[in-house]
Amino acid sequence: MAKSIAQEFTKGLWNEIPPFRLVLGLCPVLGVTTSMENGIGMGLATTFVLLCSNILVSLLRSIIPAKVRIACFIIIIATFVIVVELMMQAYAYGLYQSLGVFIPLIVVNCIVLGRAEAFASKNSIIPSMADGLGIGIGFTMSLAALGAVREILGKGGLTIWKGIEINQIFGASYLPFDFMVQAPGAFIALGLMLCMMNLVGKK
């Protein structure tokens, strides 16, 4: 049962990559991936919360009484979410405006609570850190990939991060699929990605 630290880390990147393998945490996945930049921002915010809450839950796991453990986890997670929210407001106001309500909603993201409950509360600090970081980076990659697909098809261009842009990937005559950046496009893109992941994973 004792997996190595590296295994704990890498499982989040492919075998248990949250939105595509576990199909968890879909609310932000569908909601914020209108562009790659938003996806990365949301992913990094979630990674930070995951890492910090995993560390703290793991440290306090012998102190937290079993009956109120969920309440304790939520306090810890909510604290870090507000830290992220305030920091983002202070240093990345544009991103804060476009992510809007999804930042406070990280509190109820089942991935974060799920890792606290299923992993960090049963393991020591180093594996918990590896787990949180792995799942977080996996989540960020998924959001970035989904955001990129939707942005490329829906706008015909891609903004990777402040100012780094590729315009008109398909040439000037390309007519963007507007619906890809709207809600139905999120479901279609997610479905196609899941399908591709399963095809690749089957081999």
Binding site: I76, I82, L86
Partner: protein
Amino acid sequence: MKEMIKMVVVLTILSSFSGGLLAKLKDGTKDRIEMQELELVKGPAVRSIMEGATNDPVSDRFKITDGDVEHSIFVGVFESEPSVVALETFGSGYGDKVGVMIAVNVNDDKIVGLGVTTHKETPGLGGNAKDDPSFGAQFKGLTLGEPIKVTKDGGNINAIGGATITSRGVCSAATQAGTIYKNIKPQVVAKLKDFK
């Protein structure tokens, strides 16, 4: 019983620690967040409604307290006289509160310009209150302090097509600004005298 006490103690310590940390952080980032809002949301609105001012209205601002509410007042210098002030008020829109920045000439109490700042209205409908300058332009020349209403309610502001609620929100914010303005005008005028 012992377990009960432990639960209460752990939860209490955890909550108070978390509360303390967040209060500290909130305090520490307050100024910076205010700056960011000023620069990215209020700033552009103030500059656009005070077009032609010879100073920078965003940096020339002061605070005035009315009762226990604090208002930021932005000053515009026109023809080398600080004659225009702008303040922000909120009316209820379709989504959430709609922030409205109103500039008024202190000499004749006439509205110089009106711009929408923060809002969560539907893009293309209520969002036009911010994006379509012709809506805000209708307020120009009206006297601040008198009730401002859309035509449907007997006033003279043409509501945005498909967004009566947003238009009403902006009008009520403008009316409210009139009330605040009346209350704080003596203080504003006194402050403007000290203005170089």
